[in-house]
């Protein structure tokens, strides 16, 4: 446990900025993680609009390039991105999202592109003393405003100081040289954490009550416009498509973010689509978040960050639906 | 500008401006070689996404050649094109792709000389503006 005076934070960040350091910055009227020094840092932010998954799993990246030569095609894999990075100020829910994505991308056979970025990135989290959004519900999915899942180190804002806690040895390594935190600061941090927990109202998610053929999916999906914001901005969503860009002579295979809310996501060459309408697609998102990942990994694929609740243009609210699913189940 | 040569992409309508370009060639009229010509059946065939894609791929200027109003082989193709491409030109200008980079000119099959002037006109205008690659990579 270490203590960092807020006045000395800049020197610490400048030391870390030898590698590529991402900090939360105000860009227009939304917060986004940018390289330290390019934008004005803003540490009493709520949460970034696009989660930190974008740093390790970018919106589009090239997998390999091909070119045809007289003697035949040559395949040239894209060089792996081994740039050392530090992310400072990530919220606990986004870091938990990274841990969810780790589980999917490191499942055998592991994904080399994601692995190169992931193992060269140190994630330093910033606990929420007050839940940022009124739609936050991390305590209802087994996380908390100060959970350290997916993090290498956790900072807690004590007012004039930060309490820094290292979680992994990567965390220990970058916090080397900071002075030890006195007992009272550690106790104060613990109190702040408990206070933050109490501020969040918990509701119970009972995924055994989720019925695949229930009418609720049809009713809730009627409003859905299939825009996919709920999945693009979800810290733990990692679906993608692989597209060929270029001609037969020269081009590349590119991986691009995609969402299960698009019809083209599951349409087959014959034109048959196992998820033809909004109902099946909205249901797929709920089951993937709260049932399938729970059966496979024993934890929800949802981290309760509240983005999908806040930003859905037609207010499809996962909390409201999961509560009424539980009541319907009884 | 050092040795940079503007690259102009031209969509020439098959019945008038393409024939005009032919005539300019046949009668040995000199005109700048920066132009690359794509023959389309009518200026009305030019979809705004062709023009946007041309600029994206690095064309420094785009020229659309069509028949004089009233001479269109398909009677009204150039009239639709004019309305559509006028709006496109102002939209491109709005995002920073200067108006001088995108020209529409009516060149009939017998105006070889006019075709050469049009190519000179757009090449000089674009030369003053500099390569578009600089804008994209800036």
């Amino acid at each position: 446990m270490f203590s960092v005076d807020k006045k000395k934070l800049d020197d610490l960040l400048r030391a870390w900025a030898k590698d590529e350091l991402y900090v939360p910055c105000k860009v227009g009227d939304i917060t986004s993680f940018e390289v330290y020094g390019t934008h004005e840092i803003d540490l009493d932010f709520k949460n970034s609009r696009v989660p930190i998954k974008r740093i390790m799993f970018p919106e589009s990246e090239t997998l390999y390039r091909y070119e045809s030569f007289p003697e035949g095609y040559k395949i040239e894999p894209e060089e792996l991105d081994n740039q050392k990075r530090i992310i400072f100020g990530a919220r606990p829910c986004d870091c938990a999202g990274i841990e969810r994505i780790d589980k999917k991308f490191y499942q055998d056979p592991a994904d080399p592109y994601y692995d190169a970025r992931r193992k060269n990135t140190i994630i330093v989290g910033l606990a929420c003393n007050k839940p940022p959004f009124f739609s936050c519900f991390c305590t209802s999915v087994g996380l908390s405003p100060h959970s350290t899942v997916g993090m290498d180190a956790l900072f807690t804002d004590l007012g004039d100081k930060y309490l820094a806690e290292s979680i992994t040895d990567k965390g220990k390594e970058i916090l080397k040289g900071l002075d030890e935190a006195p007992e009272d600061e550690i106790r104060k941090a613990k109190e702040l954490h408990e206070k933050a927990d109490r501020l969040l109202e918990r509701f119970e998610i009972d995924n055994s009550a989720m019925d695949f053929d229930a009418r609720i999916w049809e009713k809730e999906a009627q409003r859905c416009i299939g825009c996919g914001i709920c999945t693009f901005l979800c810290p733990s969503c990692s679906c993608f498509t692989i597209e060929n860009i270029g001609s037969t002579r020269k081009g590349k295979m590119v991986r691009i973010w995609e969402t299960c809310q698009f019809p083209a996501y599951s349409i087959e060459a014959s034109g048959h689509n196992p998820r033809p309408n909004r109902k099946e697609r909205v249901r797929q998102r709920f089951f993937d978040k709260y049932r399938y990942s729970f059966d496979k990994f024993g934890e929800f694929d949802c981290v309760g960050c509240g983005r999908c609740v806040d930003l859905c243009p037609v207010n499809i609210d996962v909390r409201e639906i999961m509560v009424s699913v539980k009541e319907a189940g009884r | 500008m050092s040795e940079w040569e503007p690259k102009i992409l031209a969509f020439l309508c098959n019945w008038c401006s393409y024939a005009g370009a032919d005539l300019a060639g046949v009668s040995r009229i000199q005109y700048p070689s920066n132009i690359r010509i794509i023959r389309v059946m009518c200026s009305g065939r030019v979809n705004p996404s062709f023009v946007i894609r041309a600029f994206q791929e690095g064309a420094d200027g785009v020229l659309v050649g069509g028949c004089h109003p009233g001479d269109c082989h398909y009677v009204e193709g150039n009239l639709y094109a004019r309305r559509r491409l006028s709006m496109l030109r102002q939209l491109l200008d709005f995002v920073g792709i200067e108006k001088e980079r995108f020209l529409v000119r009516w060149v009939s099959a017998s105006e070889g000389g006019k075709f050469a002037d049009v190519v000179k006109e757009i090449t000089e205008q674009v030369r003053k503006l500099g390569p578009i690659k600089e804008k994209w990579e800036a």
Binding site: V27, G28, D29, I30, R49, V50, P58, E59, S60, P131, F134, Q222, R223, I225, G226, C227, G228, I229, F232, V254, I256, W257, T259, A264, G271, N277, R278, V309, D310, P313, V314, N315, D317 | N47, P48, S49, I52, R53, Q56, P69, G70, E76, L79, Y80, R82, R83, R84, S86, M87, R89, Q90, L91, D93, F94, V95, G96, I97, E98, V104, W106
Partner: protein, 346 residues
């Protein structure tokens, strides 16, 4: 006709089966937005809590297209009864554009007109709320045409949270309706049109470098989630040539003739190409319902692009989208004098 009479009329239509379902607004869990609700004979009780207020931001005409695109299981007949929906001034112009383009017939819809004096932009209201940043529960928040109140105390007046499009709106009363929820409001004054294009002329006067810097910064934020396309009632193509998020089941030959003019990578130039193409696809059609800009998760000022095209079309052809359903769409016709006009650009 008062709200109560309107609700009984809607209930009668549903009970008598004259309309397939009714799309209105209801209070949801997001206190800054009245969300769309489909009412059919199964959930008739919802007619009572239909909401007609400043929180009704969504453009409900989108759901006519959504219903049209629904894929029915084998052997199920499509229910051809009309759809009832609430339309504000801007939404009703979308109906006219759909009529002009023969996408719907007038008898396919039963329109409940909602004369409107401006709606709340949920993003703005939320930012005002979060500036207070203490854990208020949504119940004691009240938003009406005077502003935003918490337990009676005003925390923002109306034009701080009003949607930008409403400040420069020209058509407060629905241009197409079968009924009106309350009587018509007074239309905005004529010079509002100049106010409408004020901001755009500002941007037009910038130098090309400044213009490009602005759009470069804005368009690099785009993550290509296509919510601007999916929320737009006029973007109804079976298969969008710009987005490839929905594919038509057609023959292999047709599929292989699809040429992709807009790259699918999420980088500056492909984003620029996507947004410029969409602005051109909305030329002379966009009715400025503002839903694209509202739903954009990274706050790109999309309306600037579409209003620029709208301004140019109005100044060149004196044409306004969605006002007269019998008029030819502007880019699909030409004036007789244009055949003799030698000008290269209009």
């Amino acid at each position: 006709m008062s709200e109560e009479e309107m609700k009984t009329k809607i209930r009668d239509l549903l009970v008598e089966g004259k309309i397939k379902f009714f799309v209105g607004y209801e209070k949801g869990t997001n206190p800054f937005l009245a969300r769309p609700v489909m009412i059919s004979d199964e959930n008739l009780e919802k007619v009572d809590d239909l909401e007609f207020s400043v929180l009704c931001s969504n453009n409900l005409t989108l759901y006519i297209i959504e219903d049209r695109k629904k894929i029915l299981p084998r052997g199920v007949e499509r229910d051809e009864r009309p759809i009832g929906l609430v339309v504000k001034g801007c939404d009703s112009r979308a109906i006219n554009v759909l009529l002009q383009e023969n996408m719907i017939k007038r008898e396919d819809v039963f329109l409940v007109g909602l004369p409107c004096e401006g709606v709340v932009d949920p993003n703005k209201a939320r930012d005002v709320w979060y500036k207070r940043s203490d854990r208020l529960n949504p119940e004691d928040l009240e938003i009406n045409e005077k502003g935003m109140f918490v337990n009676g105390e005003k925390i923002a007046d109306f034009d701080e949270i009003e949607a930008d499009r409403c400040r420069v709106c020209l058509h407060r009363n629905p241009v197409a309706h079968d009924e009106l929820v309350w009587d018509e409001v007074e239309e905005p004054k004529l010079e509002t049109r100049e106010k409408r294009y004020e901001k755009i002329r500002e941007y037009e006067s910038l130098s090309p470098e400044k213009k490009w810097d602005f759009w470069k910064k804005e368009l690099s934020k785009c993550i290509r989630c296509y919510s601007c396309k999916n929320i737009c009632p006029l973007c109804y193509c079976e298969e969008c040539s710009l987005a490839k998020d929905q594919l038509q089941a057609v023959s292999p030959e047709e599929k292989s003739r699809r040429v992709l003019w807009v790259g699918r990578e999420v980088d500056l130039l492909d984003n620029l190409s996507y947004h410029l193409n969409r602005a051109m696809h909305l030329a002379g059609r966009c009715i400025d319902c503002g839903e694209c800009e509202r739903s954009c998760p990274v706050n790109i000022p999309l309306r600037l692009l579409y209003n620029e095209v709208e301004k140019n079309i109005y100044e060149t052809f004196q044409y306004e989208a969605g006002i007269n359903p019998d008029e030819e769409p502007v880019l699909t016709t030409f004036g007789s004098e244009e055949a003799r006009n030698e000008e290269c650009f209009l």
